[in-house]
């Protein structure tokens, strides 16, 4: 029988859809009956969605992109 610890230790496999069969059924049964674990999984999933949104912060500006490209091409030509 699943306990909260089992949900925690198997959550990566659950999120990556790698679990199957009896393990998946038992985990989802536990989630259905355990509000704490249900909240744990929901916040875990949302955290990953939020983290993915941080990627939008990692884009270079057009100005820097053009400046860097010009610099690199000049170095290439100067060889």
């Amino acid at each position: 029988m699943f306990i909260c610890k089992d949900v925690v230790e198997k959550i990566m496999g659950y999120i990556d859809a790698e679990l199957g069969g009896k393990t998946l059924v038992e985990l989802e049964n536990h989630l259905y009956n355990c509000p704490e674990c249900d909240a744990f999984v929901r916040t875990y999933r949302k955290m990953l969605v939020l983290a993915g949104k941080l990627r939008a912060n990692g884009f270079v500006t057009i100005l820097f992109r053009n400046r860097l490209k010009t610099f690199l091409l000049s170095r290439l030509n100067a060889k």
Binding site: V8, P35, E36, R42, K46, L50, K53, G58, L72
Partner: protein, 229 residues
């Protein structure tokens, strides 16, 4: 050093290839990385170099920013990365994907910068970090602090994103880099394994503990934020 046909060539021959005036090759979004590298390495095709640059500059920037956590230095780091690419592309042996090689160069350049700036902090381990008690029952009032359906967070408000960013920043370095590469930059476990030179199992183990720690931190921060609003 190998030429385009795999023959041995001298450094002089290599440089002669690099400083040639080849710019006439047709390259586009669909040209495979390997072909671009071949054109750049053997024919000094600047269009090929530009395509590599355009294809990867944002990803390199994202990884450098995530690793160094220093926006002011990230531009210097990615300049170093592309200069390294120009100088050392001949060391790319094709055993891993080109992107993996480039991201490894990026992570190494970022760490070099952190060390130079003395910002590389000693780690502490999260290997024993668990959100449950000795009976295996969850602790920390997770349901009370539940935030996954709050519209102010799910709309990715500026404050919510800053809280997440702060929480990621507080992860120990060896955990943060794995979290950054997987959850922010969305690289595969195998790519991260090759970039960091650790096993896939170690990647998953670190990521697991990082996420547990991060979820707790974020829940605490969001809970405090809600109390103060």
């Amino acid at each position: 050093m190998k030429g385009s046909s795999g023959e041995n060539i001298t450094q002089t021959d290599f440089l002669r290839n690099v400083i040639g005036d080849g710019m006439n090759q047709e390259v586009d979004d669909n040209t495979p990385d390997e072909k671009l590298i071949e054109l750049f390495l053997n024919e000094n095709d600047q269009n090929a170099f530009e395509e590599i640059f355009n294809r990867y500059v944002d990803k390199v920037y994202g990884i450098a920013l995530g690793t160094s956590r220093d926006p002011n230095s990230t531009e210097d780091i990615i300049q170093d990365v592309f200069l390294t690419l120009m100088k050392k592309i001949d060391t790319f042996e094709g055993r891993a994907k080109f992107s993996t090689w480039l991201y490894r160069v990026t992570v190494n350049a970022s760490y070099m910068h952190l060390r130079a700036e003395k910002k590389y902090e000693s780690d502490y381990s999260l290997e024993n970090y668990v959100p449950y008690d000795e009976n295996g029952t969850l602790i920390g009032r997770i349901k009370d602090k539940e935030w996954s359906s709050r519209p102010d967070i799910l709309n990715f408000s500026k404050e919510a994103m800053e809280i997440l960013d702060t929480a990621i920043n507080e992860l120990p370095e060896t955990y943060r880099i794995v979290c950054q590469l997987r959850d922010v930059n969305e690289l595969s476990y195998e790519e991260i394994s090759e970039i960091l030179g650790i096993s896939s199992g170690a990647v998953k183990s670190r990521l697991h503990r990082a996420r547990l720690y991060l979820r707790d931190k974020i829940s605490d921060y969001f809970y405090e934020w809600r109390q103060n609003k």
